[in-house]
Each structure stands twice: as C-alpha cells, then as structure tokens.
Homo-oligomer: 350 residues x 2
DNA sequence: GGTGTGCCTGACAACGATGTCAGGCATCAT
DNA sequence: ATGATGCCTGACATCGTTGTCAGGCACACC
C-alpha cells in the first residue's frame, strides 16, 4: 500500500507522512510514536531512538491541529492580534513586543489590520475564532464589543489595547492619554504660552477624546479660558492637519504654541510651520514619538507612548488568562513620557 | 444530557457548542448542519432556516481546524510570513500589502520576526509547518534554505522575498538592488562628484553585496578607479554608521558625496553630516525611502524600494502556487526608483 | 513457585468536522 | 399500478492525533 501510494503520487503532490507511517517504519505502535514526539515518559531509550530515526528519515512533523483536536483544553498555541494597521509604526512595535513575549511559550501570532473599520473588526474576530485561537488581543474600533461576550464568557482570553472596550468587561492596556496630554499643556504653559492650539484626531476615537479632555482640563486649571482655545478636530491624516494648521496660523491672533494629538497630525503641523517659516517661532508638542524627531529643525518635543511596554504587558495579561487567571477584569495604564527636544521649549514672542 | 452539561459548566468554562449540539437542537442530522454551514446545496429552505436558527441561538461557529482535517487538500487558509522584524517599516509594509491581497481569499497571516538569526528562521519554519500553513513567505537569512526542500517538493508553496534563497529553487521577489545602486552612482556622478564613498551593511547580507556591486561597477564604468573609492562596510546600525562617517569625513581628501546602502546607515550618515555642519555641502543618496525624508535639511534623495509592490507580488505568486501552478521557479524583480529631494543634487565644491 | 510491582507497549475510542453512500419520499411518465 | 427520476437527509467511516486502559514482560520478594 505504501508503495502504491508512493508510486501514485510520484509525479504530483507527495503527501505528508503521518504517525502511522513513522510507526510502520519503526515497527512500533502509533501511540508510541506519539509518546516520543511529545516527549512523554514511558518509552525505552532503544525504542525512542528507533522512532526518532524513522521520523527523521521520513521528515515527519507533528500535526498540531490534529493533536489539539483530541488534546484536553484544545490549545492551538496561536493567538490573534488585531491592530489599526500592521504597517503603523506604533502598532508594529506592540506587535513585536507581543511576539517576543509569546514566542517564549511557543505561541504564534495571527496579525491583521482593521483600518478603523468596525465591520472588519467583527469579521476578523470571527475569522480568528474559527481558527480556535487561544486568545485575542485587539484594538477596538467598533462602537461596542458586546458581540464577543459569548466567547469571552466561554473563557476565551481577550485583552484590549490602546483603547478600552465598550459593552464588555475585559482586560485592557492603555496609555495615560489624558495625563500625557495634560503634561504637554503644563509644559507649554510653563514656557510662557497662553494661546495654545489643539489639533486633534477623529472624535470617534476614544484616545483622541481622552487627549483632548486632558489637555483642555489642564488649560482650565491654569486659568486659561477654554473658550479661547483654538481647537481643530477630525484630523486623520497629514494633509488635513497641514491645511488646518495653515488656516489657523493665518487667522488673527494665531496661537504661539500647538499641541497635536497624534503622529500624522504632528507631521502635518510640522509641514505647515515649515511652509510659513514658523518652525522656530511657534512651539510644538506632539503626542507620539517618531523616528528622526531629534533631527528636525528644531527637534520635536513629544509625549512618547511606550508601545513596547504596552505589547509586553498585554501579552503577559493574555498568558495569565490563558493559564487560568479568573480574577476581575482590569485596565492597566502605561505612563507616557515627555521628551524635550527643542520645539516644545520655544517661548512666545514678547 | 444537554441540561446536565449546561448545569455542570455553569460556574466554569462553558464548552463551545459543536455541530452535534446544533443538530440536536434543530432536530436534524449532523451532516445537514455541515451542509448548511458550508453553503452546500441540497438542503430544503425550511431545514436551512431551522439549522441557522439553532446555530445562532447557540452561537455556534465552525471549527476550521477540525474541518480541514477531513477535507480534501487539507487547506487551513493560513500562511506564514517570516520577516527580519515585524517592527521594521520596510517589512511591515510588505506585511500589510500581503495581508490585503490574502484577506480577499480569507487567508490569515502568521507573522514572525527573524532578527537575522538563522536558527530562528529554521525554528519558525518548523513552527509554522506544524500548524499546517498553506504556504510560506520568507526573508532568508540562513546560509542555505535547502532544509525546506522536503516540504517544498511535497508541494508546499514557498516564496522568498527581499533576498534570493540559496540551495533551493523557488520563487523569489526582490528589488533590483544592483541597478538601484548604480542609479545612485550615476546620479551623483552626473552632479560632478568623483570622490563618492560607499557606506554599506553587513556583507553576509545578499542585498548589501548586490548594492555594493552595482555601485562600484557603475563607478568603474564611469572611469573612476575603484581602488580610490572609500568603502566602509559591516555597518548594521545608526551608531556604527555615524562613527564611520565621522572618521571618513575627518580623514584627508574626504569624499564629496556619500551613498548609504540602507535605512539605518543613512540615518547614521545624516547625523554625522549634521554634527560636522556638512549636511548642505556633502551630497547624500540613501538606499530605502523613509518617512519625513523630505523634511530634512536638505531633503534626502533616495533610491526607494516598493515594499507594497513586493508584498502584493509575493502574495499573488503564493496564491498562484496554492492554486496549483506548477511552473518553474522564477525570480521577480521589482524596480527601485530614484526620488530627488536635494541632498543628492548638491554639487562638489569647486 | 507464586505473586506483586513497575515499566513498556499498543488497541481502541474519541476530538469535530466532511466525504461517501444508501435510503426515503414525492413526482412523473408509462 | 409500476417503475424511473430527483431531491433531501442521515448513518457511518475517516482525517491525524491523544487519552484511556489493559496486557505483557522482567524482576524481586516471600
């Protein structure tokens, strides 16, 4: 039979060897092969070597999917990771940190991009559930995550990152958005600014709202009438931020400092400032650190997030849940950090 | 029985419903449920609705792993992607492009980072094979990829990206490294430079060698004695590139132009030039485009690769192979592009 | 010699699904 | 009435592996 099937498949796809093939070649039972491949005790050294030899000869490899089908607990040693985009630097650093933390346990990561699309979020969660991942880490974008309640209460570990979920109680790992934005405000105020503009992302994004709240509350605390604060929101890319900034700076009584709530927005602001030759006159603090920020003219002061820590922490929480931690859901806050590089330390003109 | 198991598991992990549960609730056979879930024909509309209702009520979801166990061809609708690092911008753009091309077919992507570690390459390939991926896309780093020959000849689709594999004939998608580097050389020569330094990456990386070859060959063609070309290699990060550049520029007869073979090296060179106040005097062309290159002083001229096209093409080739294309292995070359921004157009001092 | 104690080992069912196949029931032509 | 033809449907084996369990064998002890 073996011969038959070999000949039959000689010119096409050769099929992968199974335990049965290894067992036949080694002259043992299939269960013994299983024991050897899984490093289970109770196999004599001689048998072990025979099986190992046969398996190498056939280039045999255990089929994890088939194994976990029968195995208790059904672990697949894979998890799903849903990010705004795998190509986004912030996301990909989280991804990397998680990978490192999970690789130690032999867990592989399915990664996917959401593009701020709520439908895609649900579709991808479904796709990963169908693959029976051991856990899910996701950046929520849909209005509510209640749709995963059935799975979550069936004990599927889920950790939300960057944004807290709505409609479900589950672990989350987030940056101290409001506090970070407040730090930016304090920093600019302490350098003499009172007319500080806020350039913000789409308001349907929770972190954007938090940053705005932290920022304006801090201005209020400092005695600056929040009604006088120029606020531009709904900026989701470089170009819209650039245009909004140009408009703002050409208006009467332009701001002497700008706080931008996100990477791409910061880039747009930088472009506008440079165009108008104001890059060394108008102060700027951006939320999110970025490559080459120190090479700008002047260097760009930022509120840096720590995607590596977020990723690591998320992975640790996920592993704890996978290992059976049934404690109450909790939100973990990773502190942001002010990094001064020049642009945030410019003083207003006399 | 159903009641029993519900009560039993009320306080712990509820188990996931299976087809049997759905079948029991709908009062049909298990195979009928299978037909409905897979949109197979031959089910009356009335039965279909009953099954659909039951499956929704139980929140049932098909188990892909179990399904593909029996299904012909054993497709898992997942592929493995091995990158230098998922956090590397070049890699993550490839990743994104692949994801988009594969998502249309419902294929999920396992992504992992190699960190230029040959052992990790093999370990991760093994890990993905154990998960029975339908295909593999990988950036080779090990000296030879002959170890995947058994799987490849068993019809596992494999596409190499960025670098060509060694010891195996398989599809590859790469940038025209030598041509791109030659373009950089031509560009600098046409702007009057004859003393052009080459700052290169580790020579064990194939693309680095190709870039160097293309660069020096072009200088030779232009009549520049290659023995006079300052070459610094083995630079793998910003700091080593910065130091090498400082040393080079402080030596006698410093170059009037620099070609850097890679992103991080370019950053190091930029830092050194700025430190010495030479950023507007010494010309620079870097291999690899990067964010904010146009915001530098001056803007940085680069040979841009097209990671999005590389990713898309790799995904297309992989799908073709998955669909049974048994044509000879082929290497696909994605052309690079010269983007002028200022730094590469600086002329040498008289 | 009988028996208990470990240590190895393999037969068998099961995991959750799909492929195969045969059977039941209308409908329709003869 | 009889047989042929389709359409639905479910019993059963099977995918590759692991859990369970019982059996065989060697050794030591009484």
């Amino acid at each position: 039979m073996t011969t038959m099937s070999n000949r039959y498949q000689a010119e096409g796809a050769k099929s992968r060897p199974t335990m049965r093939h290894v067992a036949a070649l080694a002259g043992v039972g299939i269960k013994t092969v299983s024991r050897v491949m899984n490093d289970e005790p109770g196999v004599s050294e001689a048998t072990r070597q025979r099986v190992l030899g046969a398996s190498q000869q056939l280039n045999y490899q255990l089929d994890m999917a088939a194994g976990s089908l029968r195995r208790a607990g059904r672990q697949t040693l894979s998890v799903g990771l849903l990010l705004p985009s795998v190509a986004n630097p912030f996301s990909s650093e989280i991804h990397r940190a998680m990978e490192d933390a999970l690789a130690a346990r032999g867990i592989a990561v399915f990664a996917a991009s959401l593009d701020d699309d709520a439908e895609r979020e649900k579709a991808l969660v479904t796709a990963f559930l169908g693959r029976r991942v051991d856990g899910l880490v996701l950046t929520p974008i849909a209005k509510s995550q209640a749709y995963v309640i059935p799975e979550h209460s069936r004990d599927l570990p889920i950790v939300f990152i960057d944004r807290e979920p709505v409609g479900i109680e589950a672990d989350a790992v987030v940056t101290d958005n409001a506090v970070g934005a407040a730090k930016a405000a304090t920093h600019l105020i302490s350098h003499g600014h009172t007319r500080i503009a806020y350039m913000g992302d789409r308001t349907d994004i929770q972190t954007a709202r938090e940053r705005r709240r932290g920022f304006t509350e801090e201005l209020g605390r400092a005695g600056i009438a929040t009604s006088t604060v120029p606020v531009r929101e709904g900026l989701h890319d470089e170009e819209s931020a650039r245009l909004a900034t140009l408009e703002l700076l050409r208006a009467e009584e332009p701001p002497t400092a700008i706080f931008s709530s996100q990477n791409l927005v910061t880039f747009g602001v930088m472009r506008a400032l440079k165009e108008l030759g104001l890059n060394k006159r108008v102060a700027l603090v951006g939320f999110d650190d970025f490559t080459l920020a120190d090479m700008m003219e002047p260097g760009v002061t930022v509120i840096a997030q720590h995607p590596d820590r977020i990723g690591k922490l998320a992975a640790e929480r996920l592993l704890a849940r996978i290992d059976g931690d049934h404690g109450a859901a909790q939100t973990y806050v990773v502190p942001s950090e002010l990094i001064t590089r020049g642009s945030g330390e410019l003083r207003p003109p006399e």
